[in-house]
Amino acid sequence: MPEAVTRLAERAAASRVAVHLSEVSIAYQLKDGGRYEAVAPATLSVSEGELVSIVGPTGCGKSTLLNAAAGLIKPSSGRVEVLGRPLEGLNAEAGYLFQQDALMPWKTAIDNVAIGLEVAGTPRRQALETARGLLGRVGLRSFADRYPHQLSGGQKKRVGLAQILARGPKILLMDEPFGPLDAQTRIIMGDLLLSLWQQDRKALMFVTHDLEEAIALSDRVVVMSSGPSSRLIGDFRIDLPRPRNIADIRVEPRFHALHREIWNTLKVEVQRAYDQGEGKDA
């Protein structure tokens, strides 16, 4: 039973916790002296080799939580642990893929990928070689000398992927990375992400508002309630077989069952967020 054996091996590899958020809350001091709590104390663990998606309605603070794991935001309370050690400053073990354009526009694709290695002290020639290899892996071998503005949205995301992979991070954090892309490109990018992830199975926290994307990619889907004071209100294990193909998996009956189950939890929150938004705007 080779499948069962791989399962076991996966479980064993997945035993170590990569990122652990313990009772992490994030609040902002408002100008008028008040306090705005974006995220209520939340506890979440992502194991090594595990792909966890965080879904929730717009503005629920899922990106905020991710930024706390990246060290870009300091939690107001609670602890962030990375590979068993408390996080101080930026998370040096993590690669972060942003939703918006984050490439340096004045550097070519290959320089953008190589820069993470160069600043870490890798000789330029060697860094460029590695970068070239990575661009090949994301299917952009022949676009190495393009500047970001000469690339399409999907191509920029591919460069971004290669950029964060270059430093060989143990943890990947992604904040709605495919959000700005069109539907077809999202599927292609999702497949690319899965095939890259499949090769070395890093811990991956993936924030998205697209439930289908979350289910298709993840081992676990975590649902957040609408803000303010968002909470984690659901944690669903996605037991779809791997390796997966996003376009195919979406027609599986099990996919639909999971979708229905999670959507039942999510839709209440989406509706609530929507009503609040309506109320505010009107």
């Binding site: 990246a70 870009l72 930026l90 998370n91 040096a92 993590a94 690669g95 972060y96 942003f98 918006q100 354009d101 984050a102 490439l103 340096m104 526009p105 004045w106 550097k107 070519t108 820069i115 993470g116 600043v119 870490a120 022949s142 676009f143 000398d145 393009r146 500047y147 970001p148 503005h149 000469q150 950029q163 964060i164 430093r167």
Partner: protein, 264 residues
């Protein structure tokens, strides 16, 4: 519109302008041609004077001096603008303290400084350089300041996540951004360097294009004034197109600069 068509239309404007000028000053349509020529000269006279000046060696000496002044003004002004712009942008307090003074000095019409500079630096080239510097400095300063401030927070966060320390952020993020802002104002700052030189010469000097124009004005030599202006305009256009070339090379990464940079 095709290039040739555009060029043809541009030439047409020049021809019509010259024709109007010619009719105005050589026919009794508007007034006595002799009187009109005293005030406005004629196109042919101006062109002939230009050709004569350019054939002789004198104007080239003046031109060289003006360009030297402009170049020095640009280099010194831009250098100071970059350094101080960068410094202010990274030191919030410094910028806040000096803000009203920077604004006050920048609001001052620089022409009023020319006599002071002549007093301080003499009638040689340095008083003109100083005037040009006061013009160039502020343009570069504000642009570099803005360039450092306007770095996209996402690009900055990304660079930090990629492991850059402060020094590396300077070199790979702030510096290129500031330079791109500076280069985008290159036309203005180079132009102002020339303006500083010519205005300085005009107000008190013994050499340079501004000086020749001022001399011609002194004897009501309208032809001389116009031919001086024409030569100045030609120089400005040449310098400006050189700047465009430099800009194309340095800002290849900017959208809309050149599409033909990356191949394969």
């Amino acid at each position: 519109m095709s290039r040739t068509r555009l060029l043809a239309l541009q030439v047409l404007v020049a021809v019509l302008g010259l024709a109007f000028w010619h009719v105005l000053t050589t026919t009794p349509l508007v007034g006595d041609p002799r009187k009109m020529q005293f005030f406005f000269s004629t196109p042919w006279d101006v062109l002939a004077r230009c050709a004569r000046d350019l054939a002789g060696g004198e104007i080239w000496r003046h031109l060289l001096i003006t360009l030297t002044e402009a170049l020095l003004a640009f280099v010194i002004g831009a250098g100071a603008g970059i350094v101080i712009g960068f410094w202010f942008a990274r030191q919030e307090l410094l910028a806040a303290v000096f803000d009203p003074y920077v604004k006050a000095i920048n609001a001052l019409p620089r022409v009023v400084l020319a006599p002071i500079f002549a007093l301080w630096f003499g009638l040689g080239i340095w008083s003109k350089v100083a005037l040009g510097v006061t013009l160039v400095f502020f343009i570069v300063f504000f642009n570099v300041y803005q360039g450092v401030k306007e770095v996209s927070p996402v690009v900055l966060s990304n660079a930090r996540m990629l492991g850059m320390n402060e020094r590396q952020l300077m070199r790979h993020v702030y510096w290129p951004s500031a330079l791109s802002w500076m280069f985008s104002s290159l036309h203005t700052s180079v132009g102002f360097a020339l303006v500083g030189a010519v205005v300085g010469e005009y107000l008190g000097s013994s050499a340079g294009l501004g000086y020749t124009i001022q001399q011609a004005e002194g004897v009501f030599d309208v032809t001389g004034v116009f031919s001086g202006m024409l030569i100045l305009a030609a120089v400005v256009i040449i310098v400006d197109s050189l700047v465009t070339l430099v800009e194309r090379r340095l800002l290849v990464w900017r959208p809309g600069q050149t599409a033909e940079t990356a191949r394969g």
